[in-house]
Symmetry: C2
Subunit: 349 residues, 2 copies
């Protein structure tokens, strides 16, 4: 990942800007150059490979992130995204408000041609079957054509990143039958079935899956709106951490259990890592002209370092260019709308 | 539970009607009388305390459950519900189609006065903090006033069943702030905050919770639409079973791990039971004039026996009467609409 520069917003993390700076230092040791935007006097000692740009203004807690990103050019997230738009960095990372990161991305980096809506895509932190879930929070409300495009975006991502040929793509619903779900899901189902019939190797549409199917390997990509997806990904983390915690508690409950726990611990170490929500580093923000990564605000330095490394790997692998090519080849890009030069800002409606 | 009779639909279970009959036999041993509606020639030997009513017609797989329930009076689920309406049984259990059970309930038992929509409420199968989630599948789409009433219904349920004083009720969303979520959730938030301010002991509205908060004990009752709730409850089961399975696999991976697993097993036995999706027996269908219970179609006989026992306990505890009183006391019932005798079927719109 030599030569890759990631612009990182240090504001918005639950543990404060210094924790993000510590994550940047870890990533820098791995060879990633970091431009760190945040309050310079709160970032602690700066590591080699990390360049601090003093940007103390945070909009991570703004009630109207879209408006805040528009009206606050000095905000750290806006400045980080701007560095990517200017070519000073190759991708951005922000663990503050997802809405603000999305808004800044739409204003400064712009939507890629033919993309309806950017979406957040993340691997599901469950062992066994790798599954990519999207949207996990960029769009609380979507239209059927958005879900259809998310299906192709997710499929393109797992083809590029994981090398999955003809990824199996499913829609998340409350039943497997095509007629189950909200009208949104029903319409998306019909449209995706129609599109997938001519999609060749781009994807295989395997229909609806239910919540329990996500962890059962029923699909490589699971598509849903950003409200349901956000609830789902956080719920998965909550359940797996709660179950691990309950096992840990019970393994301390008696001398016999303690002895068993000690013997089992090495075998379970890898599992704990697989279930660690910080391990994947967060979600790819797909659909902009440059790559973004959105870690959780509650991550520790480890999670932020993983987010920066995820962004750097995405740049090295040209995820933006290759997924866009795959979408184009699959005919999944929106037809170019007629140019209307009177419209003030066609990319951010 | 002496003297309680439960009408059970034997159709629709993944393992077939005989599995439901076996569950009925287990419940009968515990003192519940069962009226079992299904294909008499497929139910195997009938246990004492179980009376079979031959009703071979199943609408569990009907594409239009509402229409099927209306047009198929001979369907096993309709006949089971009818037995409750007639007073031959006190509550019904159906593990077939939730839509068909709901439709049959609306047609034959009727909605309780002042209830907008019935909802499915279930305990969350996660250890540590008891949480009741609703709606888990009766209404894929809802309006804000439905979510507000679900909040009071859930609170009344946990007051009656668990004895929780002033239950903490939360709305499931993609962020904790009041302005997060879909317009539906935002409107419900505002309306519920307003109502809760005058609700006294009926409930305490603690605002929005995210997916991971469900397992963290942030609320006693978590309210959502039936689409999101259905995805959530199945996802929780999928994740907890996947994590337990992964631990089991790793505990077999080496002699050392096997020895540890053997020592730990007794301590973990209770946890496995706590996480067993069949343990709670399914969801209460609340808001009708009589009680219904909806187990998963994929349950084994154990799960069906638990469902029947859940229904019987609900009857003994007069959940329907006491939750309705609690809703009335809290002012959470809908104002009685003007009587319109020209409307053909005001309860089932």
């Amino acid at each position: 990942m030599a030569g890759v520069t990631i612009a990182v917003d240090a504001n918005g993390a639950d543990l404060g800007p210094a924790e993000v700076a510590a994550g940047a230092a870890i990533a820098a040791v791995r060879g990633v150059r970091v431009l760190l935007f945040g309050p310079a006097d709160e970032l602690g000692e700066v590591a080699e490979g990390v360049e601090v740009v003093d940007a103390p203004v945070s909009i991570a807690k703004a009630h109207e992130p879209m408006a805040a990103a528009r009206s606050t050019p000095e905000a750290s997230v806006v400045r980080a995204v701007e560095a990517v738009a200017d070519g000073r960095a190759d991708a951005f990372v922000s663990g503050g408000s997802t809405g603000a990161a999305l808004a800044a991305g739409l204003f400064r980096v712009k939507r890629a041609n033919g993309i309806h809506r950017p979406a957040l895509a993340t691997p599901v932190p469950v062992p066994g079957h790798p599954v990519t879930l999207l949207d996990v929070g960029a769009n609380a409300e979507v239209r059927p054509e958005h879900l259809v495009q998310f299906a192709f975006m997710g499929a393109a991502l797992v083809r590029v990143v994981l090398g999955v040929e003809r990824p199996r793509v499913a829609l998340l619903s409350n039943g497997e039958e095509a007629e189950r779900g909200t009208p949104l899901v029903q319409e998306a189902h019909a449209a995706l079935a129609e599109r997938a019939a001519h999609a060749g190797e781009a994807l295989e549409f395997v229909g609806n899956v239910e919540g329990n199917d996500i962890t059962a390997g029923a699909a490589d990509v699971v598509v849903t709106d950003g409200f349901t997806g956000n609830v789902a990904i956080k719920l998965m983390e909550g359940v797996s951490q709660t179950v691990l915690g309950a096992i840990r508690d019970r393994a301390m409950a008696s001398p016999r259990a303690k002895a068993g726990g000690a013997l089992l611990r090495p075998a379970l170490r890898g599992l704990r890592d697989e279930l660690d929500p910080e391990g994947p580093g967060g979600a790819y923000l797909l659909g902009l002209r440059r790559l973004g990564v959105v870690p959780h605000g509650r991550f520790t330095r480890y999670g932020f370092s993983q987010a920066i490394l995820l962004a750097a790997r995405g740049v090295s692998g040209d995820i933006v260019g290759r997924t866009h090519e795959a979408l184009d080849a699959a005919g999944a890009l929106r037809a170019r709308p007629p140019v209307d030069r009177s419209a003030p800002s066609p990319n951010v409606t």
